[in-house]
């Protein structure tokens, strides 16, 4: 191809730089791995929820500094994938952003003759975000359903009874997530149940962080994301389940006493009563040190700090 001779030289330079950096990162990686390997006696396999995958990875990384006898292998794939692997007995711990279904529990018990044990390892609270200049502080689930739902009746800020000076078009810009993320699923179910859908035409962004980033730049926008992602440019709304009900702010206390309506527990499941290294790992996750990481990654730890 004729472009190749043109772009070729630059490309080669880049490739060389890339290869070098890969080689270097590769070296340091193997160093660490071999160092860990010397004392390793057990590998803990951990798989499941994509919502939890960063959290699980952070735990696994920190744990290499805590225990010299265990190495944790983390992979994502979704809650369903994790439970399926648990049923097949190929993982030690399954991560799940929903509770295990009765049918799954039965299958796992049947196949492995061990009953899966449930551990709540943290909470994921979805906050409803608006731009910091939006003159609104509270919202109800009913209103949110009318904003996001397929046949929703609220499309303007004035429909919510506020006059939004920084949003001349008055249109509510709905920020959402790509339609198969766990966050999307959970938010849709919390608002509409299982029988109806979100309306089209929302901006479906690709990450929890992007949602908050875009809302921070868009006075007309409303959106949802994990409560740990808040920035100074956005505001979290207090949420009530229905008009007339009390409003609750998304904070640690309200999530822990289960008054904040859009929060869900994050689960880990082990096959049978955990033993040995697996037990040590789960105990560490539930300890103050492990829970600190939960908070650091934007989730809600089990006990308020």
């Amino acid at each position: 191809m004729r472009i190749n001779s043109r772009i070729g030289y630059t490309t080669i330079c880049f490739l060389v730089v890339l290869t070098c950096s890969f080689a270097m990162s590769g070296c340091s990686h193997t160093d660490k791995a071999s160092a860990a390997k010397q004392g390793t006696t057990h590998t803990i396999k951990n798989k499941g929820s994509d919502t939890m995958v960063n959290l699980a990875q952070a735990w696994a990384e920190m744990y290499t500094g805590v225990s010299s006898t265990a190495l944790v292998e983390v992979s994502g794939g979704g809650s369903g994938t994790g439970v399926a692997a648990l049923i097949n007995g190929t993982v030690d711990i399954a991560n799940c952003s929903r509770q295990i279904k009765p049918k799954e529990l039965e299958l796992a018990t049947q196949k492995n003759s061990k009953i899966p044990q449930e551990f709540i390892v943290g909470y994921d609270a979805l906050a409803v975000y608006v731009h910091q200049d939006t003159p609104i502080n509270k919202i109800t689930i009913t209103q949110l359903a009318e904003i996001y739902g397929e046949d929703g009746t609220i499309s303007k800020w004035s429909d919510l009874g506020i006059s939004h000076n920084n949003c001349p078009s008055d249109e509510i810009i709905r920020i959402s997530r790509q339609s198969n993320s766990g966050t999307y699923f959970y938010f849709r179910e919390a608002l509409l149940g299982k029988s109806s859908d979100f309306g089209l035409g929302s901006l479906d962004l690709h990450g929890s962080k992007d949602v908050v980033e875009v809302i921070g730049r868009t006075p007309c926008a409303i959106g949802y994301s994990g409560m740990g992602y808040a920035t100074p440019h956005v505001k979290m709304l207090e949420v009530a389940t229905a008009p007339g009900e009390p409003y609750y702010a998304p904070n640690l206390k309200n999530v822990l006493d289960k008054t904040y309506p859009i929060a869900r527990p994050l689960y880990m499941y082990s096959l049978g009563e955990p033993m040995g290294e697996v037990k040590a790992y789960l105990d560490w996750i539930l300890s103050a040190e492990g829970q600190k990481i939960v908070e650091k990654l934007g989730f809600v730890p089990l006990t308020g700090s």
Binding site: R2, I3, R6, I7, Y9, T10, T11, F14, D50, G78, G80, T81, C167, P168, S169, E171, I173, Q178, S179, N180, S181, Y184, F185, K194, S195, S196, D197, L200, G201, S202, L203, D204, L205, H206, D210, E213, V214, R217, T218, P219, C220, A221
Partner: protein
Amino acid sequence: MNILRKRRAANLPFSETVIELFIRLCGISCIIFVFGIFFFVFREGAGFLFNGLDLGQFLTSPEWYPTSLSNKRYGTFALILGTFSVTTLAMCIAVPFGLGAAIFVSEFCGPKLRETFKIIIELLAAIPSVVWGFIGLTLMNQLIIAVFNVPIGLTMLNGSIMLALMSVPIIVSIAEDALKAVPDSYREAAEALGATRWQVVYRVLLPAAKNGLLAAVLLGAARSIGETMAVLMATGHSVNIPSGPLSWIRTLTATIAAELGEVARGDEHYQVLFIIGILLFTITFVVNLIADLVIKGIRQE
């Protein structure tokens, strides 16, 4: 003829035969890969394509509800329109700039400036698309809000500008080569007849380099249609029938990129995403076919 070739082959040193074989293998592998990819994409999507998918709804309905719990709908009309509109707008921006730059680099600027230009254009080609997407998400977003006074700048225009910036280097490189390939005798003859520099370009060079320039534009367009990350981040990724350059849209490629990571393998939704892949294949094939026919037509003239 055949005997002659055989004799020549017999006289060649062994290494030449090996090299020839190797090069032939490279050529054939290219074809094998294309067919292999097509086969894989088709196999993953075929089950649902022939059994269960309403093709009419797939192509004409704007309702894209792949993860609905009560009523799954797979309509890609809005996505197809998104892909076409963003590509068309990108080409409207990129073609004048790209061809203009190619003409300038090849005909009007001095050798020193030319080298600088080439390096800068190569640099532009080396920027990864996710970086363009990030620029679209942050910088261009703010700029479009400020200039057009719209609530949000993640629009078709934003994506088009990013795509244009990505395809301009390709267009410039190929178009410049095409212009350079026009023999100098053409230029000399035109100048001898008293043509000005612009007349030389407009009346002699452009018609003479037509094929190469068309190839440049089409390769640029192909780059735009296939681009994923930048449009995913810059266009708003919203299922919408576009109503103008400032509406939010979603493209076919971005849909695959955003959703394939989190579907279960073999699921209906998974298969539909591969059917979108087949659709993209078909679109690219048709574009290339048209290009071929057009170029052939020009040749016959």
